[in-house]
C-alpha cells in the first residue's frame, strides 16, 4: 500500500492554515470524545478501553499506554498528567506539527488521560525552541477554558482540570521523562534514579502520568471509534498508526502517518523517493539514537525493527544518499549527544567527549588505524553502563556507523582526508558555536587551556 492512513493528522491535513482554531476544531466535532469520556465513562472504563486498544507510547519507548496508567495508585492524591512535548530527537518533527496545527486534539487527549487517571492538574512541558507551538497551545488552552472544557466542573461534571503550559529552556535530555520532571520542578534536567517510577512518585513526589504529544493526540479517535477499530490497524503487537517524520535526501520530506508495519520502501515512496534518483546509502529509522539500516525492505513496527537490530524510537526516518560522509554522520550525531549529555554519569559524559575528539581527527585526516577499534571500545564502554538511555543511544549510533561503514573510515585514515570534502561544505569544527547556556561556555568543546572559562563573570575575584 502507498497510502497514508490519516488519523491524528487528519484534521490538520483536511483543514488549511487555520486548522488549529477552536472554531475549526468544533466544526470537526472536537471535544466530543472528551465529553463522552468524562460524562458517560468511568475512569476505569477509559483505562480498560486504552488497554484494549493496544495503544503504545509514541515518544520513543513504545510502552503500552493503558498498562502504564494501570500502575498509578488510586488512593494517592494529588495526581498529575504531564505532556512530554520536548521533541528533541534529531529527525523528529511530528509533535511540533501536531501541536502547532491541531492543539485541540492534544488538549482533548489530555482531558481523557486526566479523567482516566483522576488528575486535576496537567502540565504541558513544551520544548523551549517551539515558539509558535507554545503560542498556539496557549491560545487553544484559553479557548478551552472559555468553552468550559477546562477549569472547574468541566462539561458540567464535578471534575476539575487545569492545564499549565510550561516552557523548556533548551536541553534534549529533558525529553527523558524523569529528567523532564526534575526540570519542571526547577532543577537541572537530569534523569532520576529509578525506582520509584513516575507513575508511583513523579512530579513533586506524587503519582504522575507522562505521555508523549502524539500518544495523547491518538486518544480522542480511540474513544470515538473504539478499541477494535484501533486494533484492526497496524500489526498485532503494534496496533494503530504512527506519524513518521521523513527527512534527508528525499524529494518531499515531511510527516507521513501510516499504519505500523508499513515498509521503509513504501514510506520512502510516499516521501517522493530519493532526490534526483540518487542512490540510497543509509537509513536512520528511528531518530539519531537508532542504529543505521542500509535496506528499505523492513517493516516499520516495534518488533520488525528490533529484529533488524535497530529501533522505531520516535519515528524519525532520515534517508541518506551516497553523497553522505558517514564519518561526518557519526561525528555530527556524536557531537549532538556530547552537547546534550547531562553530565551526570561518567560513561556518557567522558565517553561522548572522547569519541568526538577521535572522530574529529579522522574527519580531518589525522586518524590512526587503531582509532576505529578505539571508537568501538568507547561505544562498549558506554553501552549498558550509563545512568540513562541517552548514553546507550550515543553508543549505538556510534557503533553502527563504524561497523557498517568501516571501509569509509579506513579510507579517511588512508587518504588522510575526507573523500567527501566540499560535498556539503567543509566540516568546520564548531568550537563554542553551539547554543551556550548560562554555564561556563561550552566547556565540553573547549580545547585551549581554560578558554572561555577563566574569564567568566562569576569567577572574577576567584583564583589565586
Amino acid at each position: 500500500m502507498r497510502e497514508e492512513t490519516r488519523v491524528t493528522t487528519r484534521r490538520l491535513r483536511e483543514f488549511g492554515q487555520d486548522s488549529w482554531t477552536m472554531q475549526r476544531a468544533l466544526d470537526d466535532g472536537a471535544y466530543e470524545a472528551a465529553r463522552t469520556a468524562v460524562t458517560s465513562m468511568t475512569p476505569d472504563e477509559v483505562i480498560e478501553l486504552v488497554k484494549a486498544s493496544g495503544l503504545r507510547g509514541k515518544g520513543g519507548a513504545g510502552f503500552p499506554t493503558g498498562v502504564k496508567w494501570g500502575f498509578v495508585p488510586k488512593d494517592v492524591l494529588p495526581k498529575y498528567v504531564v505532556v512530554n512535548h520536548d521533541e528533541g530527537e534529531p529527525g523528529t518533527f511530528k509533535d511540533r506539527e501536531l501541536a502547532e496545527r491541531d492543539p485541540h486534539q492534544l488538549i482533548e487527549g489530555i482531558i481523557i488521560a486526566a479523567w482516566a487517571n483522576q488528575a486535576e492538574k496537567a502540565f504541558i512541558y513544551c520544548r523551549g525552541e517551539f515558539a509558535l507551538g507554545s503560542r498556539r497551545m496557549d491560545q487553544a488552552i484559553a479557548d478551552a477554558y472559555g468553552k468550559g472544557f477546562l477549569g472547574k466542573g468541566i462539561f458540567g461534571s464535578s471534575f476539575d482540570l487545569d492545564i499549565v503550559l510550561h516552557r523548556g529552556a533548551g536541553a534534549y535530555i529533558c525529553g527523558e521523562e524523569s529528567a523532564l520532571l526534575d526540570s519542571l520542578e526547577g532543577f537541572r534536567g537530569q534523569p532520576r534514579l529509578r525506582p520509584p517510577f513516575p507513575a508511583i512518585k513523579g512530579l513533586y513526589g506524587q503519582p504522575t502520568v507522562i505521555n508523549n504529544t502524539e500518544t495523547l493526540s491518538s486518544l480522542p479517535s480511540i474513544v470515538t471509534n473504539g478499541a477494535e477499530w484501533h486494533k484492526k490497524m497496524g500489526t498485532e503487537k503494534s496496533p494503530g498508526t504512527k506519524v513518521f517524520s521523513v527527512s534527508g535526501h528525499v524529494n518531499e520530506p515531511g510527516n507521513y502517518e501510516v499504519v505500523y508495519g508499513t515498509t521503509l520502501a513504501d514510506i520512502l515512496e510516499l516521501a517522493g523517493g530519493m532526490r534526483q534518483g540518487a542512490q540510497l546509502k543509509a537509513i536512520i529509522p528511528g531518530g539519531a539514537s537508532a542504529p543505521l539500516l542500509t535496506s528499505t525492505d523492513v517493516a516499520c513496527d516495534f518488533e520488525s525493527l528490533k529484529d533488524a537490530g535497530t529501533m522505531l524510537g520516535s519515528g524519525a526516518i532520515v534517508f541518506m544518499d551516497e553523497s553522505t560522509c558517514m564519518v561526518r554522520n557519526a561525528l555530527v550525531t556524536t557531537e549532538f549527544f556530547e552537547h546534550e549529555s547531562c553530565g551526570k554519569c561518567t560513561p556518557c559524559r567522558e565517553g561522548t567527549w572522547w569519541a568526538v575528539k577521535v572522530l574529529e581527527r579522522i574527519e580531518h585526516g589525522e586518524g590512526r588505524p587503531e582509532d576505529m577499534d578505539l571508537l568501538l571500545d568507547i561505544a562498549d564502554g558506554i553501552d549498558g553502563r550509563s545512568f540513562c538511555p541517552l548514553g546507550d543511544a550515543a553508543s549505538w549510533a556510534l557503533r553502527s556507523n563504524v561497523k557498517l561503514f568501516r571501509d569509509e573510515f579506513d579510507q579517511h585514515v588512508a587518504e588522510r582526508r575526507c573523500p567527501f570534502e566540499g560535498e556539503h561544505g567543509e566540516h568546520k569544527v564548531l568550537v563554542g558555536a553551539r547554543p551556550r547556556g548560562v554555564g561556563l561556555g561550552d566547556a565540553g568543546i573547549v580545547d585551549q587551556p581554560a578558554a572561555g572559562i577563566a574569564t567568566d563573570a562569576w569567577e572574577e575575584g576567584k583564583g589565586m
Partner: protein, 842 residues
C-alpha cells in the same frame, strides 16, 4: 545495624551471607570483606549512582547494576569480580582518567586518594587518550578554608550532596552540563558553611583541599591517633594527625551513634592551639610582679604552704576537662582540701543540672542522640545549636527532614533550627498554653534542654523542660556547653553533687558565690583548672575583683590567659592530642582519646596534677596511669562501676576487611591504624586473583572510615528507680519583666568562631570570625527609631560600647550580643543574674 526484622540469604563472589532485605549491596559486600570500588557512594548520604564505578554482575539481570543503588533481595547472587564487572570497572576508570590532570606529585590527596588507590587496584595500566585534557582555572579559593580544583574533580557530587542533604548550606553546586559540568560556588559568594570541611574529607580526589593543610604534609609522613573533639558537648570523634610532632590536621572519625561521619569546621580546623608558641611548658611561681619558672616540687611546696591548715578554699574547673581530670579535681577538693566549694559551671554558671535528678535517675541525659531520629516530637529548649553544638544541629535537621520528626523550638531569639521547626515560640509559657503546640506533642517525645544565655537564671527554661518530661514521661537530652561539662557533673565537680550524682547534705559555694567570697576577702585559696574566669564567667567585673583581691590562686592551664596573669602558681597542662583520656559527651557517652605526641616541657595531665598535690598534702592515691584512675573511679563512682574500658576503644564488630599486609592482626598498629595512614589496600579479588597493591600503600579514607565506624564508645546504663515521676509541676516561667525606657534584658551566647582561648589560635577560623553586633526586635527598634545596620550605644555597669544593630526575630525587650567576639566581651556588660543593658542612639 541489625534491626530485629527478618534476613535473607545473599551470595556475593561465592560467599554466602545473611542481610536485611533492602540494605544496599555495596554495604553488605563490604561487611563480607569485599570492597566494591566506588566514588559517588558514601554511606552517610543517599545513593545517586552517578559515577558508575560500582557496577556489578547480578544473576538474572541483563545489565550490570550499581551496587550502591541495588538493595539486596532474597536469593540474590552477585559477583563483583566477574569478567564483565571487572571490565566495566576498568573502563570507568579509563574514562575518569582521560580528563584527570594526574598532578599527583603536587596533590595533597596523593597517597590517600581513592582515585589513586582504585586506579591502582582496578584501573588500566595505560591511557589511550591522546587529545588535550579539559582545563579549568586551578585552585579557586572558595572560602577561607576550602580550595577547589575543578580539573581533578570526578563529579561524584559528594560535596554538593553533603551541602544540600546534610548541612543545608546550598552554596556549592553543579554548574553547566555534559562534559563541561563542574562544581562551583556562585560568583564571589563563598562556600560559607560551618561544615565545609567535611566535603574536603569525603572528596574522593584532590579537588577540594584544606587551605590550612595545603602543601603541609604528605599522608605517609603523618602519624595519627583517634581522639575526641575538645570543643563542644557533642563529642565528635576526630583524628589528630602530626607531622614532625606538630598537629597539622584533624579529620572526623565516624560514629553512627554520635556524629555519623561529620564534624564541624571548628573541631576540624581548631587544632592550632596545641602547638601554639606560647603553650605553658613549666610551672611558674609568682615573685612580686613576675613569674619565675620552677620545678613541680617547688611549685607544690609553695601551694602546700599556702593551703595547709586553711579551710576557706574554692575549686573551679572549666568545661574542657576530661572525665579523669574531673574525678581528680572532685577528689582533691573534697578529700584533700576538705572543701565542698567545687564547681565546673562558668559560662553556664547556675545551670541547675543537679535538679535533673527530680525527673531522671541521672543528672544528665536519659535520651541519646540517636533517639532524635526515632522521636515523633522533639522539643528544643536551649541555645542556637548550630553555633554551640553544631553537629547536634545536623542531627536535629536530619530527624526533621528525613525522619518526619516534628520539631518545636523554644527560644527567646531566632535560631537556625527555626526554618525546619513545626512550631517556634519565644516564651516557654506557650508549651502548656498554646493548644496547637500541645496537640502536636506526640510520643515518643524527646525534650532537649541546655543553658541558653550566660548570666541568665536558667531555672525558668529548665522548669519548662522538667514539667514536660514529668508530664509525658519523655526522654531528656541535657545539653551542657562543653566537651567536659557532663564528665564534670558525673564525677561530682558540682557544689551539690558528689561523684555518681550523690546528693550532698549541705552544698558548697558555686562559682559565683566563690568569686563573691574571694572578692570580699573571705577566701584563702582558689584553685582554677582550665578556665579563664575573666573571659568566660558571665560577670567580668566580679571575676576581676575576685582574682584581684589577692586571694592565693593556683591556675592549671594550657595557654597564658588573663586569669593566669593573676595567679600565684601556674601549672602547665597537657593538651588533648597529648593524652590518653576519655570525654563524656552530652549523652553521657564515654569516648577515648589517644596520644599522638608528647606534651611540651614538663606539662602534666590535670589528674596527675591533682594526684601530685594530694600526695604532697599527705594523701597518696597511687595514680600512675589512666588505668589506675579508672580503677579508682569504678570503686568510688557507683554509676561507673561497670564501665568496660576495653569496650570504649574496641572496634565492634571486629573489622572483616583483610589486608595483604595482615596489619589488622598487628597489635602494634592498634588503633593508630584505624585513624592514620599506613595501612594497606584490602584484599579483594580480581579475575580470581588477589589485587597486587604496592607496599605500604596508604589506606584511603573510604576504608579508614569503614574501620573506625565501629568504635561506638560506651554509655553507662541508667540506674533503675528514681525516674522522678514524683516531680511536681514547676512554677510557670515568666521571662523577666521589661523595664521601661531603653533598658533591655541582655541575651548572649557563643558564636561558633570567637575569641575563645583555643579556637582563636587558628588563623583561618579567626579570619572568618564575626564582628560583635546587637540583635533587636524590629518593634523595639522602631521605638528607638533604629534601622538595620544603625549604630547604637550599649551601656551597663559603667562600660559603654557602640555596636551595629541587626533587626531580628527576638523577644521584645531583649537584645542579643555575641558572647566573645573580637572587640567586645559581653560579660563585661554583665552584673549579677539576668543582666540588663541600656541601649540608646548615639
Amino acid at each position: 545495624m541489625t534491626s530485629g526484622n527478618e534476613v535473607v540469604n545473599v551470595t556475593i563472589n561465592g560467599l554466602e551471607t545473611k542481610a536485611e532485605p533492602g540494605r544496599l549491596l555495596i554495604d553488605v559486600a563490604e561487611e563480607l570483606g569485599i570492597f566494591v570500588p566506588r566514588f559517588c557512594y558514601h554511606p552517610g548520604m543517599k545513593s545517586v549512582a552517578v559515577c558508575r564505578m560500582c557496577l556489578v554482575h547480578i544473576e538474572g539481570s541483563n545489565k550490570l547494576l550499581p551496587a550502591c543503588a541495588t538493595p539486596v533481595a532474597g536469593g540474590m547472587v552477585a559477583n563483583t569480580v566477574e569478567e564483565s564487572a571487572v571490565d566495566a570497572q576498568e573502563g570507568m576508570l579509563e574514562f575518569l582518567l582521560i580528563n584527570h590532570p594526574l598532578d599527583c606529585p603536587i596533590c595533597d590527596r596523593a597517597g590517600e586518594c581513592p582515585l589513586q588507590d582504585q586506579t591502582y587496584a582496578h584501573g588500566p595500566g595505560t591511557s589511550r587518550y591522546i587529545e588535550p585534557k579539559r582545563t579549568y582555572e586551578k585552585a579557586l579559593e572558595i572560602s577561607e578554608l576550602v580550595v577547589l580544583d575543578r580539573e581533578r574533580c570526578v563529579l561524584c557530587w559528594r560535596c554538593v550532596r553533603f551541602s544540600d542533604e546534610i548541612a543545608g548550606d546550598q552554596f556549592i553546586q553543579l554548574v553547566d552540563r555534559g562534559p563541561g559540568t563542574q562544581i562551583l560556588t556562585f560568583s564571589d559568594e563563598p562556600f560559607d558553611s560551618y561544615f565545609s570541611g567535611n566535603t574536603i574529607q569525603i572528596c574522593p580526589v584532590g579537588a577540594l583541599t584544606s587551605k590550612p593543610y595545603r602543601f603541609v604534609a604528605r599522608p605517609w609522613d603523618l602519624k595519627a591517633a583517634p581522639s575526641v573533639c575538645s570543643y563542644c558537648a557533642v563529642g565528635c570523634p576526630l583524628t589528630n594527625e602530626v607531622r614532625t610532632d606538630e598537629v597539622v590536621r584533624c579529620q572526623a572519625l565516624p560514629n553512627e551513634q554520635v556524629n555519623d561521619f561529620w564534624s564541624c569546621d571548628k573541631g576540624r580546623f581548631g587544632y592550632h592551639y596545641v602547638d601554639a608558641d606560647d603553650r605553658l611548658t613549666n610551672p611558674l611561681v609568682r615573685d612580686g610582679e613576675e613569674f619565675i619558672p620552677s620545678s613541680w616540687a617547688d611549685a607544690f611546696d609553695k601551694i602546700a604552704a599556702a593551703v595547709e591548715g586553711k579551710e576557706r578554699i574554692g575549686v573551679i574547673s572549666g568545661g574542657h576537662l576530661t572525665t579523669e581530670d574531673s574525678f581528680g579535681i572532685a577528689r582533691l577538693a573534697r578529700d584533700v582540701l576538705k572543701t565542698s566549694n567545687v564547681d565546673s559551671r562558668i559560662q553556664d554558671a547556675g545551670a541547675p543540672y543537679d535538679r535533673v535528678l527530680e525527673v531522671a535517675p541521672v543528672a544528665g541525659s536519659t535520651a541519646q542522640i540517636a533517639d532524635l531520629a526515632k522521636a515523633r516530637t522533639v522539643v528544643w529548649i536551649g541555645p542556637d545549636p548550630k553555633e554551640t553544638l553544631p553537629v547536634l544541629y545536623l542531627k536535629l535537621r536530619h530527624a526533621v527532614l528525613e525522619c518526619n520528626t516534628k520539631l518545636i523550638v523554644v527560644s527567646p531569639r531566632a535560631t537556625s533550627l527555626d526554618r525546619c521547626a513545626t512550631h517556634v515560640v519565644r516564651s516557654t509559657d506557650s508549651l502548656s498554653t498554646d493548644a496547637a503546640i500541645v496537640n502536636d506533642i506526640g510520643d515518643p517525645l524527646v525534650v532537649c534542654w541546655g543553658p541558653a544565655s550566660p548570666g541568665e537564671d536558667h531555672s525558668a527554661s529548665f522548669d519548662a523542660a522538667r514539667a514536660l518530661v514529668a508530664k509525658r514521661g519523655a526522654k531528656l537530652l541535657v545539653c551542657p556547653p562543653h566537651a567536659g561539662s557532663q564528665g564534670a557533673i558525673d564525677m561530682g565537680v558540682l557544689p551539690s553533687l558528689g561523684p555518681g550524682y550523690e546528693q550532698r547534705q549541705e552544698a558548697g559555694l558555686d562559682t559565683r558565690a566563690m568569686l563573691e567570697a574571694a572578692a570580699a576577702g573571705e577566701l584563702d585559696a582558689l584553685f582554677v583548672f582550665g578556665a579563664d574566669l575573666i573571659t568566660d564567667f558571665p560577670d567580668a567585673g566580679l571575676a576581676r575583683r575576685a582574682l584581684g583581691s589577692g586571694v592565693f590562686t593556683v591556675v592549671v592551664e594550657l595557654l597564658p590567659t588573663e586569669t593566669v596573669s593573676h595567679a600565684d602558681v601556674v601549672l602547665p597542662s597537657a593538651a588533648y592530642a597529648e593524652r590518653t583520656a576519655t570525654f563524656t559527651n552530652l549523652e553521657r557517652r564515654l569516648q577515648k582519646l589517644e596520644p599522638v605526641k608528647a606534651p611540651p616541657g614538663t606539662a602534666r595531665q590535670p589528674w596527675e596534677i591533682c594526684a601530685g598535690l594530694a600526695a604532697r598534702l599527705g594523701d597518696d592515691w597511687e595514680w600512675l596511669s589512666f588505668d589506675d584512675v579508672w580503677a579508682d573511679i569504678k570503686k568510688q563512682v557507683p554509676t561507673h562501676k561497670d564501665v568496660d574500658l576495653a569496650a570504649i576503644s574496641q572496634r565492634i564488630p571486629e573489622s572483616t576487611l583483610q589486608y595483604e599486609s595482615q596489619f589488622e592482626n598487628d597489635a602494634q598498629q592498634g588503633d593508630a591504624a584505624v585513624a592514620g595512614p599506613g595501612g594497606q589496600y584490602p584484599k579483594g579479588f580480581r579475575q580470581g586473583f588477589p589485587i597486587q597493591t604496592g607496599q605500604n600503600w596508604p589506606l584511603s579514607w573510604e576504608l579508614r572510615a569503614f574501620e573506625a565506624r565501629q568504635r561506638p564508645g560506651y554509655v553507662p546504663p541508667l540506674p533503675d528507680g528514681g525516674d522522678g515521676a514524683s516531680a511536681s509541676a514547676p512554677a510557670s516561667s515568666s521571662s523577666s519583666p521589661q523595664r521601661g525606657d531603653g533598658s533591655f534584658r541582655l541575651l548572649t551566647g557563643r558564636l561558633i568562631y570567637d575569641e575563645g582561648n583555643m579556637v582563636s589560635r587558628s588563623v583561618a577560623l579567626r579570619s572568618i570570625q564575626r564582628k560583635p553586633y546587637l540583635e533587636m526586635n524590629d518593634e523595639d527598634a522602631k521605638e528607638l527609631e533604629l534601622a538595620d545596620g544603625d549604630e547604637v550605644v550599649v551601656g551597663a555597669n559603667g562600660t559603654q560600647t557602640t555596636l551595629a544593630v541587626a533587626i531580628s526575630d527576638i523577644a521584645r525587650g531583649s537584645v542579643f550580643i555575641p558572647y566573645d567576639q573580637e572587640g567586645l566581651r559581653a560579660n563585661t556588660l554583665m552584673a549579677g543574674v539576668d543582666p540588663h543593658v541600656e541601649v540608646r542612639r548615639p
